[in-house]
Symmetry: C2
Subunit: 341 residues, 2 copies
């Protein structure tokens, strides 16, 4: 019973602090929430909560502020999911329905997330290694420069220009295109590279030995995973609402947003699209971002996570709202991808 009220107090503190951005005192708390007890009692509870490390006071004669541990408890145990209203749902649906392309879907999702949460939104493009190959197109730009276009099941299209050491005839190329497509269509990208590795002998017979060089280049291109790192970022202008703590929080944030590798590490491994992951403050891998939290989830058709999307913001954020928005967007995006498949 007592324990229960203490948690109610913690919840109240988190909610008030998030909305006012100011340390909250015992009096203000009883005024704004129906706790049914006096400020003195709340003070006792607060002392206990502080003892346990859930809240802290910035200075002796100030109110309390949740610690990372406090937010963690709040997120895990105390927050009720805040369902989006129908207007928001409709906005998501209509905005995403209109997308034509994967690129388009990603761009729109980022905008959407940023708008809904008023935070910085990040959407990772579907991971290459989890997609299957739909088609490979080879286009000779010049006799020695070859444009390869890799079309994946997720709608992602990767292009790359290869410099060939020797000229390749058009006929050989056409033959090669057919052979390659036969070999890799429907395969996961890693498997596809393997398949290609087994090809050269066959290709040499069918389409001339020179093309084996092309195959080698193709394999190399497929095994190069640096483009796994593609992400879209939006809502940076929301950083402006951080207010005060500039160098301490905005600068490292802007830096992280430029470094896509960092950003992806921050988002974390893509989890199943049904779970929303929350990483609070120091729980993340970067000390400089100790006062920022990440709310993320995987997305993809079915329950397999093709990639991650989420938001990044101050630890002092509206977790229930953010989680709801992230989950909703992930679901809609997953559905779109399913339809387009």
């Amino acid at each position: 019973m007592v324990e229960e009220r203490r948690l109610a107090v913690l919840r109240a503190i988190v909610e008030d602090y998030v909305s006012t951005q100011e340390p909250v005192g015992s009096k203000a708390l009883v005024d704004r929430h129906q706790l049914g007890v006096s400020p003195a009692t709340v003070r006792n509870d607060m002392a206990a909560l502080e003892e346990e490390g859930f809240i802290a006071q910035p200075h002796t004669s100030a109110g309390r502020v949740p610690t990372d541990k406090g937010y963690r408890l709040f997120v895990d145990k105390l927050s009720t999911v805040k369902p989006l209203n129908t207007a928001e749902r409709r906005a998501i649906a209509s905005l995403l329905e209109g997308a034509v392309d994967l690129d388009d879907v990603v761009q729109r999702s980022v905008r959407l997330l940023a708008q809904l949460t008023r935070q910085v939104a990040v959407v990772q493009y579907p991971i290459l290694s989890r997609s299957t190959v739909r088609h490979v197109e080879l286009v000779a730009l010049t006799p020695t420069r070859l444009l390869t276009v890799l079309i994946l099941s997720t709608g992602r299209v990767e292009q790359r220009v290869l410099e060939l050491p020797e000229e390749v005839a058009d006929d050989d190329l056409a033959e090669l295109r057919a052979v390659v497509n036969r070999a890799v269509a429907g395969e996961r990208i890693a498997d596809a590279a393997d398949r290609l590795g087994q090809l050269p002998a066959e290709v040499a017979r069918e389409a001339g030995s020179r093309t084996s060089i092309v195959v080698a280049s193709l394999i190399e291109a497929m095994s190069d995973h640096r483009s796994d790192e593609r992400v879209a970022v939006g809502g940076t202008a929301n950083l402006a609402r951080f207010g005060e703590s500039f160098d301490a929080s905005i600068k490292p944030m802007l830096e992280a947003l430029e470094e896509h590798v960092v950003l992806l590490k921050l988002l974390g491994e893509a989890t199943s699209s049904s779970t929303v992951t929350v990483r609070i403050g120091h729980e993340g891998p970067y000390q400089q971002l100790a006062s920022t939290s990440v709310v993320a989830t995987g997305y993809g058709p079915g329950d397999e996570a093709l990639a991650t999307l989420g938001i990044v913001g101050p630890t002092r954020m509206d977790y229930p709202g953010s989680m709801a928005a992230v989950r909703a967007v992930a679901r809609y995006v997953s559905r779109i991808l399913e339809e387009q498949q």
Copy 2:
């Protein structure tokens, strides 16, 4: 003679203000520059410069600060080009040489510009309407979904998925591909759309009437210029060095950076790659960005400007340095594009 010294004073004020970020007084000025006159004389000059609107004082008992008009004069008449040192030149060369793709070139240029100038860098992708078509590839994803890949002379590759109202047979598609390529290869994109417009009759004869629908979709895709608006942005973290004036300058800036349309308008029309354009403060189209300047130039093989690149920063910036960096990067990028063509 007197007039000359006044301009020297203005130059000194601009330089000092840019490096210290603080209003500069008469005493400090004579200390730091060999003007050969006393502070009192400088004061007289300052009064005259203020009269003419080149400088202003924030409050009565403060030093002087250049006005936009003052910066303008400085840029036009007083600044000597600050050549990059060899280390910088080498850095540019080596970084850009390594690029494989147009995408790669653009990404690297942005990073480079941001690093060199320590400002926010913006690079526009080559404008579609000024490129010629190198190749069109058509890939059937499903019988009714068609991926079109448009490969342009600049190395830019545009893809787009078309939903077809009817199924199209593979044979028809192959035929169509050949016909389309014959029609558009080497054409500017606007002309290419026209050419396609004249095709349907011919196509109907050769490849079956259904394909005319595909052609119509292709034309629509080609005439859709919204993708002209592609830009890459980098160095946002440099905004953090703005310091103080947060809401007034960083917020609108972040907002502008998210709105690519705004950004492109800010960069201005692509000028010849030999001229660097400087737009100072209020000279730009947006009042909210009254305290930011833009240094930009066109780039592209030869002297024709395919697109614009440049930097955006506070009016109080190092113009000679920025101009030199922008020009150097534009030249190198142009050269790369030339080689790749």
